[in-house]
Amino acid sequence: MNLAVKDIRHNLGRFILTSVGIGMLLMVVMGMGGIYRGIIEDATLLIDKMGGDIWIVQENTRGPFAELSRIPQNLTHRALSVPGVTVARSFVQHTVQRQHNGKRLRMTVVGLDWPMDKGQWVSLLSGRILNQNHYEMIADKSLGLDLGEKIKLGKNTYAVVGITSSMISSGGDGIGFFTVSDAISIQFDSPGEAVRLERAARSARVKKSDIGLKQPSLIEFSSQASSLLPALASPQVSSVILKLSPAANIKQVMGIIEGWEDVSVYTSEDERQLLLKGSVAKVRKQIGLFRILLTIISAIIMALILYTLTLDKLHSIALLKLIGASNWVTLKLILQQALILGGTGYGIAYFLGQKIFPLFPRRVILSAEDLIQLAIIVFIISILSSFLGIWRALQVEPNEALN
């Protein structure tokens, strides 16, 4: 006869309420783990998904995910000349916050090197990849944009041609995928008045210089659009991603690029680690510590609940001892109740988590590894928390049943 189950059945309402309480506490522990996992997944998402072997970034910077990085677009040509490099793609990433349909829209703009990269690696929920070099975008569903919806960013209007999910940047913003040229346009967009003033200022500077005095036609030439002036550099990109041939030696390729004095170079794993040890590290540590605290609190609360449940049964325990039950019978009763409580709480935590976590603004990822780890923790704290109750039960003398 399982006394633990019999007692639970007898006090079912109390057990359910207690389990829900424990379950909600465990749900928070589970959620903290999920948020922690979500932050890491979001942070490393693009590095993992884009499938590059090497990232070239601005000299002495840690790359576009850790800090601002600016390198010339034409670096792709230089990189392609390195033996072993088969693909060199420009990559642009920056965050914008605009008003759209009267609502605030915060989005991480990612530029893909179209037509080499049309976003084939992005898993689409609906729609298609980028089929043209301009005015199209793929939007993460968290941005709240619909397929076919048009959005004005800067001077241009972009049509949403594809919807994806779980594409979130390390800052927690939904990602919008554009071509590199559109991403740059969005980044460096200036109001018409600012452009006119800059052109006028440029003409004034040329007028005052010797070359302007010697060649007056240059004054008119300098007031054209920046993109038409060969003397001005084209807008810069965040980084260049390289793909190597299977036979290439990554160390050799990196050795060559490291010799260039204007850039730094990292493997994808380096970039990943830089990110995890950099911007994500503190958040990761904070959540980790908070999770440990919550686990300890859960254990204490469980111990107190089990102790109270044991106090309620002291007379029955004394009676059992009086009719000859060994200590093992009472120990088993409390231990089984602790495990049932922990198990039920864990089940409730998982069930509630499945319903509630998707409503969170940032991704909460319940990985199998984390769930198993928490199950083991719950198992251990169930056993540990039953010790107080077991200790009290062992103090009970059979003659207490006579009182």
Binding site: S316, L319, I323, S326
Partner: protein, 231 residues
């Protein structure tokens, strides 16, 4: 003749505390109960009845004296000769003033648990428990929780539990105190029938003078000393 005795207690003494705080709760307490015999132990409150009962019940062993149960010496002097807990489980049944049933177990399960604790299989325990409840007229209430039973019904279940392991002796501590006189008499008669039918020695500590005719012998206890008053 010794083998015919359910319980034999000789010269039991129980001392609490030591030195200046020493209290003698019971002294020279002796009693013999034959198999199938039911005896009453009367006495005012504080006379040492419960001390005697817990001593022979091996719950609170005496400081000195000897106890023999079912022909086996279990205690001779302060040190027990057998494992008291195991012996108690196998050979002694208890019934209390309150029925003292486990509240989260049904009537059947309250009897069944006593058998399971003693190593019987759940199936055998269940069938034996049903048999006992049936014998005491409680079969139709077997699935009821104690809270759904009257005081008399609860005592019947407690008696069934006490009988579960065919004990040599049943010790009852004021089992009718919480019952009205009619029910009290019924329970006393039940004890007598059980003693005679099962050959179990029954010691009943009671204040109830109205059902003394049920007993085969009556002992009285005063200031820790037991005297046979009627046989």
């Amino acid at each position: 003749m010794v083998d015919q005795l359910a319980i034999q207690a000789d010269g039991l003494k129980k001392v609490y505390g030591s030195g200046n705080t020493e209290v003698v709760a019971m002294e020279h307490a002796s009693m013999k109960v034959a198999r199938g015999e039911i005896v009453a132990l009367l006495g005012p409150s504080g006379s040492g009845k419960s001390t005697f009962l817990t001593a022979v019940g091996l719950i609170n062993p005496p400081s000195s004296g000897s106890i023999k149960i079912g022909g086996q010496v279990v205690l001779n002097g302060p040190k027990p000769i057998v494992d008291l807990k195991e012996f108690r489980r196998k050979h002694i049944g208890f019934v209390f003033q309150k029925a003292n049933l486990i509240p989260f177990l049904s009537a059947l399960e309250n009897v069944q648990i006593a058998l399971e604790i003693n190593g019987h299989s759940p199936k055998d325990s269940r069938s034996r428990a049903l048999e006992l409840l049936n014998e005491l007229g409680m079969a139709d209430r077997s699935s009821n929780l104690p809270s759904m039973l009257s005081g008399g019904q609860q005592q019947r279940v407690a008696i069934s539990r006490a009988l579960a392991n065919n004990p040599a002796v049943i010790l009852a501590d004021e089992p009718t105190a919480a019952l009205d006189s009619h029910l009290g008499r019924q329970v006393m008669e039940l004890f007598r029938d059980i003693a005679h039918k099962h050959g179990t020695g029954v010691i009943v500590v009671t204040h109830d003078q109205r059902a003394l005719d049920v007993f085969d012998a009556i002992y009285e206890m005063e200031d820790g000393i037991i005297k046979l008053s009627q046989q």
